[in-house]
């Protein structure tokens, strides 16, 4: 990056907030994927004002701007492609501004770590439900930009369902305040929804107002083992059509269980084809207990082999730790993994799982299946070794077939991780030309010079 621009950035942000050594650039070249590309400079603003000034400067000098949270993304969304990119990392905008207990609302800067925000509101008896597995290492801004979901979203909805208002810096540096503190709002277009899930391609989110709920006081958690994956996937539908809405309904297949067990040594049963992790919650202890008993009954009727009810918080934490560790613990099995994020109508889960196992058998590479089965959101992860010459080609073919399988039953490419660059080649097929055209028009009108996160979401 040229010296003059660096000096101008330092004038806006001070010397400690502008990084440009080869070492700094190297560590801002990646996110949670294997994709890599160095930026030109990295800045760490502390105010919306500073962000706006930096974006203005970038617009003037025609420099690409790449918004970044904690870089946990699984779609290479915050990997900066053009080598003159200005990465704007929001990690130092990490203050929770105001917790309004009366209205159950929190105002926060976008760089706050989601788990920190959750802990802060829980101190006031309030609850922020969205719970991506990356909750301790991702930011609220990143969650909003990807519309992140998690196990609890089955009952409580995804990140976007909690966004009441946003402060966004636009491509010309103007600051947009959209939405606010009210629960219902139809005054004009719903712009906050537009920026939610926009993956940093439309604007840079600097602050957010989020809706909270009262914390459910009771939870019951069960881990249910199945000898056959087919039975487990059929049980998902049986449970959900029995009239109960569990807080979470997660599926893990055998390979997932084996990997967790190797990594964490939690004493899980691994001699089975799949487990379901199901939780009920609410404010009436008896109802919650009654619901989990019903769930267990349905599971048993559908061929469950054994049921383990968590006794107390420690056991429950252990089960969730297991669930959260799946994705990273897969690395013990193979040096590389490609995690997909398809979502299908619930009723089609057994069929899609059957197809995925077929794909795995055909290409002779393992695919681990786990995910938020209750939402129909599955994470088939292909395990491979990039260093083996023909494997990457196989993986690409497998990905295409997995997407094919999802689209064939009316599903989509991504439930929560987003498009970024990894799924970009498949977008048109999933959305169709009209939708792509409308989206491109929106992009062009908000960001005519394409400075925000170029090369992501759409083929430019």
């Amino acid at each position: 990056m040229n010296k003059q621009i660096i000096n101008l950035l330092i004038r806006i942000l001070g010397p400690k907030a502008v990084l440009f050594t080869p070492e700094d650039l190297a560590t801002y070249s990646y996110d949670g994927t294997f994709v890599e590309s160095n930026p030109g400079v990295v800045v760490l603003p502390e105010t919306t004002q500073q962000v706006s000034q930096v974006v203005q400067l970038a617009a003037e000098k025609h420099l690409p701007v790449v918004p970044r949270g904690m870089g946990s993304g699984l779609a290479a969304g915050s990997v900066p492609f053009p080598d003159n990119s200005v990465v704007i990392s929001l990690t130092r905008m990490n203050h929770t501004r105001e917790i309004d207990t009366l209205n159950a609302i929190v105002k926060t800067e976008a760089g706050v770590i989601t788990a920190d925000l959750q802990a802060a509101v829980e101190k006031h008896g309030l609850f922020y439900p969205p719970d991506p597995s990356s909750i301790r290492h991702s930011t609220i801004g990143g969650n909003i930009a990807c519309n992140a979901g998690g196990p609890r979203c089955l009952k409580y909805g995804v990140t976007g369902d909690y966004v009441l208002g946003l402060t966004v810096v636009l491509a010309d540096g103007r600051v947009l305040n959209t939405g606010g503190e009210v629960i219902k709002d139809v005054t004009g277009y719903d712009l906050k929804r537009l920026f939610t899930g926009s993956e940093g391609t439309l604007g840079l989110i600097t602050e957010a107002t989020l809706r909270l709920i009262a914390k459910p006081q009771f939870t019951r958690t069960a881990l249910i083992d199945f000898v056959s994956l087919e039975n487990a996937s059929q049980t998902v539908n049986a449970v959900l059509s029995s009239g109960i809405v569990p807080a979470t309904l997660e599926l893990m297949d055998q390979t997932a269980l084996v990997c967790i067990e190797q990594a964490m040594k939690l004493g899980l049963e691994t001699n089975i084809e799949a487990s379901l992790l199901i939780e009920t919650d609410g404010n009436d202890e008896r109802t919650v207990a009654h619901e989990i008993e019903n769930v267990v009954r349905v599971c048993e009727a559908n061929g469950a082999r054994s049921v383990k009810l968590a006794q107390g918080a420690a056991e429950r934490d252990k089960l969730w730790l297991a669930r959260r560790s799946i994705s990273p613990s897969l690395a013990r099995k193979a040096p590389n993994k490609l995690g997909e994020d398809i979502t299908v109508p619930r009723s089609a889960i057994p069929e899609v799982i059957r197809k995925i196992r077929g794909i795995s058998a055909h290409y002779e590479l393992p695919i681990v299946i786990f995910g938020h089965a209750g939402d129909g959101n599955l994470h088939p992860n292909i395990l491979f070794d990039k260093r083996q010459p023909d494997q990457w080609e196989k993986v690409e073919a497998m990905v295409a077939e997995i997407f094919e399988a999802a689209l064939a039953v009316g599903g989509t490419l991504s439930g929560e991780h987003g498009i970024g660059t990894l799924k970009l080649p498949y977008l048109e097929k999933a959305l169709g030309p009209v939708s792509i055209d409308v989206q491109k028009q929106i992009k062009t009108s908000l960001d005519p010079n394409n400075i925000f996160n170029p090369g992501k979401m759409f083929i430019d």
Binding site: E23, A26, T27, T91, R92, N94, H137, S138, A263
Partner: protein, 431 residues
């Protein structure tokens, strides 16, 4: 640009591929890293350090001074090693890169500092003499009471505040080489007197030996031990650590002891590592393994004994800071807490984030002052929440750092070694 790296790699033994290649960049380690959580930049994170090491070793980046500096910014708290689901050990990798740097370009001053001064207890004792005089002549009290301390530049002031009241004479000079058991002679144990304990916290180690003796141990504390080697290790001088290890192993081989007990968390973790450190040395591998297998932290050792119940009450609220070198490095977590809970009258309060690094990390307060202080402030906020009058911690580095934080924040909290409290509860020996 890669020629330097290639030349360099030909000369040294680089860390193996499997120590960095499989990092999947999930970012889990960012959540627990004290340097990341203060600086909030990727370069100061475990994932960043692994990436830098890999890119250096793969020839994509030069081994520049700045790259090595990122390895020195690591506090070595091991939180990342503990959490990584893949089994990458960023803290170990950062150390391995420091070693790599020294193998490629050994620095003379490190030979002198770690090979000569710090390895020989008497050399350290001489070097710290002026400090002992400063304190023992009452100068310190004078400086404080006249408010002169505030005239010191901030950094020096904090370093000054770190220092405990330094004993006039190092314990090494007067701790008997053999302390007979106060009761029956059931166990014969070796005591390893660490440099910092001897010089700065001699009361603590005197107490440790008394508590052992009170619990039927005959304690042998050889004077001719050398530094455990942690300072040299931290600065990448594996060669010097190995030398010190061999010396110390030989010292205890001449004694017949069932365990080698230390009350310094850092020494304990280093001594327990001798086995691994010398595993490829045919003459020493077995001896080192045998030695390390017998090393115990004092709290760990005491909890293995049928302990005598302390007779005195200590009425106070106490909390516990878990040293990284004890909790994570040695997995000794419950024992110090259990010992405190043995004492009547003590109300034990768990410190929030008790196992979060205090920022001491050897010499970080001197070399990485600002980050160290921020990390310390986090600890102090947690300490205020615990509402304790005493904070116990079995590591001299942590104790110094906690002292400094307490003085900076004008808190009224006493910092002690947990065994010192146990000794107080036992009271003075009857005989």
């Amino acid at each position: 640009m890669n020629t330097i790296s290639v030349d360099l790699l030909a000369k040294v033994e680089p860390p193996e591929e499997n120590t960095y290649l499989n990092c999947i960049r999930c970012g889990l380690c960012l959540a627990v890293c004290p340097t990341y959580r203060e600086d909030l930049i990727e370069t100061a994170s475990p994932r960043g350090r692994v990436a830098l090491a890999r890119k250096g070793l793969e020839g994509q980046l030069d081994f520049s001074p700045n790259l090595y500096e990122q390895m020195y910014k690591c506090f070595g708290c091991l939180a990342c090693d503990d959490i990584c689901p893949v089994g990458i050990r960023p803290a170990e990798l950062a150390l391995a890169l420091r070693v790599l740097q020294e193998q490629a370009r050994p620095k003379k001053w490190k030979d002198i500092l770690f090979g000569k001064i710090l390895s020989q207890p008497e050399m350290i004792e001489n070097t710290t003499l002026p400090l002992r005089i400063y304190q023992s002549l009452g100068l310190r009290r004078l400086v404080y009471s006249l408010g002169l301390r505030n005239l010191l530049p901030g950094k020096i002031r904090d370093l000054e505040a770190m220092l405990p009241r330094i004993p006039r004479r190092p314990l090494r000079h007067f701790l008997p080489e053999i302390t007979e058991s106060f009761g029956e002679n059931r166990h014969q144990v070796g005591f390893y007197l660490g440099c910092a304990q001897s010089l700065l916290f001699s009361e603590g180690s005197s107490a440790s030996v008394r508590v052992l003796a009170r619990n039927d141990c005959r304690v042998m504390a050889p004077r001719n031990v050398e530094c455990c080697g942690m300072p040299a290790l931290g600065y990448g001088r594996l060669d010097l650590v190995r030398k010190q290890a061999r010396h110390n192993i030989a010292v205890y081989e001449s004694l017949e002891v069932e365990a080698i007990v230390t009350d310094c968390a850092t020494c304990g973790s280093t001594l327990k590592g001798y086995g691994k450190l010398l595993q490829d040395d045919p003459d020493w591998a077995d001896r080192a393994k045998n030695f390390s297998g017998r090393v115990r932290d004092i709290s760990e050792f005491l909890c293995e004994l049928p302990l005598k119940k302390p007779g005195n009450r200590l009425d106070a609220r106490v909390t516990y800071h878990e040293p990284c070198h004890l909790g994570r490095a040695q997995q000794v977590k419950d024992q110090p807490r259990d010992l405190l809970k043995l004492i009547d009258g003590l109300e034990f309060r768990e410190l929030p984030e008790a196992d979060w690094c205090c920022g001491s990390a050897g010499s970080q307060l001197m070399t990485h002052y600002e980050t160290s202080l921020c990390v310390l402030d986090r600890k102090m906020n947690n300490l205020k929440q615990a509402g304790a009058q005493i904070i116990a911690s079995g590591c001299p580095g942590c104790q110094m750092q906690l002292n400094s934080g307490i003085r900076r924040n004008n808190l009224n909290v006493r910092v002690v070694h947990p065994i010192l409290l146990l000794d107080e509860a036992y009271g003075t020996p009857d005989e």
